[in-house]
């Protein structure tokens, strides 16, 4: 019997190219995640980390194997698996507060209260009636996060959410993510290509290989929060993860050069 929040067992995931050949995107992914963990997934471009996240979310059901969320199999997307995309994907015709509420009615006092709380949490007070076109990238992502959180997800999945933002905003949003995590202790899985981000946020870092995507190593990060990106212990762990990464890249170089 599993006591894990997420139990992922994926022997294979294949993609069909337009030319007709089959590419194995993911191979033998086995990952068990406890409730309240902050997992970051890092790997070279094309290693399948986004694919993995989409499978966990139920957005992609074309795979072999199962994903168990609190012992129930994931077969389709849902509000219990909150998903933050790389683009904010807000509805452009709705204001911030209406975007967060989405299909729920703001006339409901409970909804209104919770929306106000979340706006405070992501620090967007004063922008309730703004339209997405008036917001910056960082602000829009914050709205997207609030939208997902309104539905009390069992797990929050973030697919390179800060990739399109500048370094300052990224830093700031990483802190927002940590605040949210610390408040609710929602299980979080964040996919990123930024090693600093991966080590800064995670309780465990999952390093992936590419072609086919496999889990190379899982690095536990035991540092207390809040972490300092300049501290020696942080840099140690960063070096550790980076060395895994570089070995991955070395292997790729060897692969492709035919040696």
């Amino acid at each position: 019997m599993s006591v894990y929040a997420l139990d992922i067992d994926l022997p294979h995931k294949w993609f069909q190219t337009p030319q007709g050949t089959r590419i194995e995107a993911l191979h033998n992914i086995q990952l068990k995640i406890k409730q309240g963990e902050f997992i970051t997934v890092i790997g070279p471009s094309g290693c399948g980390k986004s694919t993995l996240l989409k499978i966990i979310a139920g957005l992609d059901t074309d795979h072999q194997g199962t994903v168990l969320l609190e012992q129930t199999q994931v077969v389709q997307p849902g509000i219990d698996k909150g998903f933050i995309f790389q683009e904010h994907r807000l509805f452009p015709w709705l204001t911030v507060e209406k975007n967060i509420a989405a299909d729920l009615s703001l006339k409901d006092p409970d909804v209104r209260r919770r929306v106000a709380e979340l706006i405070e949490l992501v620090k967007l007070q004063g922008f309730e009636k703004a339209y997405p076109r008036e917001l910056s990238g960082g602000m829009s992502q914050r709205v997207a996060i609030a939208r997902a959180l309104l539905r009390n997800p069992k797990v929050l999945l973030l697919d390179e959410p800060f990739g399109a933002l500048d370094a300052f905003t990224r830093s700031h949003l990483q802190e927002v993510a940590l605040n949210i995590w610390e408040q609710n202790r929602t299980t979080m899985i964040l996919v990123t290509h930024d090693i600093d981000e991966a080590v800064f946020l995670a309780t465990r870092v999952v390093v992936m290989n590419a072609r086919p995507g496999t889990i190379r190593k899982i690095v536990p990060v035991d540092l207390p929060y809040p972490r300092k990106k300049a501290s020696s212990s942080f840099l140690e762990l960063r070096k550790l993860v980076l060395s895994e990464f570089e070995r991955v890249e070395e292997l790729e170089l060897i692969d492709s050069s035919g040696i």
């Binding site: 979310a57 509805f91 015709w93 709705l94 299909d103 339209y131 076109r133």
Partner: protein, 288 residues
């Protein structure tokens, strides 16, 4: 002796500043003035006013035949007469009623079919090819056919107008629905939108800009369809007014009819634009 050279230590020598006059710096900084609505209106009116003036002068000097081109003043007189006698309003009412009924008929069908075809692929495959064929049949070719089938009465006119109003709304609604960003559908899936919510809360609002454009175009075509229908043969309406006046060489009245057509057409277009502005203020697009 009112000129004083102002030189302060450490600064460059400035040009002569007369006492009481502001130093050049503050005159150099000019804030861009926001054009008032009045200024914009005046700007748009300059060309038409100029044309009218030249026209009136040419006519008054006798340089143009009164039958071919009556002066604006004469047109105004004719307009006034028709207005006072109540004739103008009577004809206008009938024309507007025809156009409205035709537009509602054609437009509603166009919107409905556009929705069905846009939302359901199967519908698209079975229905769209036929509709596309019908679309390319010219209005003027259909008109005699309708008159043959349905006579000169109201029905054929309304049908003609409806045929015109159908297509812009059909095409635009279809296009609008198919232009919805697919990325937003992923979001709808994660948020567990039912099919109904998907349509009402995602597809329709996203397609609204196109649908409103279709509305504007449909109204325009409906109005033009009215003109064609009435000029083909009618016993009342603004088109009849024009036909009758032409028979008796009352060119001024012809002009009145044309002007009325233009004004109502523009008016209805503006109405939709107001609607657009209100409903589409969220849009993030180039404004020229």
């Amino acid at each position: 002796m009112s000129q004083v050279d102002v030189i302060t230590p450490g600064s460059q020598a400035r040009s002569a500043v007369k006492p009481g006059e502001a130093p050049p710096e503050s005159q150099a900084v000019q804030k861009p003035k926001k054009e008032s609505k009045l200024q914009l209106f005046i700007r748009g009116a300059i060309l038409p006013v100029a044309v009218l003036t030249i026209w009136q002068v040419l006519g008054s000097l006798g340089l143009v035949s009164k039958t071919l081109l009556p002066t604006p003043f004469e047109i105004w007189l004719a307009f006034y007469d028709l207005l006072i006698s109540g004739e103008l309003l009577r004809h206008l009412e009938i024309s507007v009623w025809r156009a409205a009924v035709g537009f509602l008929l054609g437009g509603t069908l166009g919107l409905g079919f556009g929705l069905l075809v846009g939302l359901f692929r199967k519908f698209e495959h079975s229905v769209d090819p036929s509709i596309q064929m019908l679309r390319t049949i010219p209005h003027l070719a259909i008109t005699p056919l309708f008159i043959l089938w349905f006579g000169f009465g109201e029905f054929s006119k309304i049908l003609l107008i409806a045929k015109g109003a159908f297509f812009p709304l059909y095409v635009q609604t279809f296009l609008g629905i198919r232009s919805v960003d697919s990325k937003l559908f992923d979001v709808a899936r994660v948020l567990e939108f039912s099919r109904f919510k998907q349509i009402t809360k995602l597809v329709l609002p996203a397609a609204l800009p196109n649908i409103l454009l279709g509305l504007r175009l449909s109204i325009g075509v409906a109005w033009l369809g009215l003109v064609v229908a009435e000029l083909m043969g009618s016993s009342e309406g603004v088109g009849y007014l024009i036909l009758d006046a032409r028979q008796f060489s009352q060119t001024a009245v012809v002009f009145v009819g044309i002007v009325i057509f233009a004004l109502v057409g523009k008016g209805s277009d503006s109405l939709v634009r107001v609607l657009e502005k209100k409903l589409l203020k969220w849009r993030d697009s180039f404004n020229g």
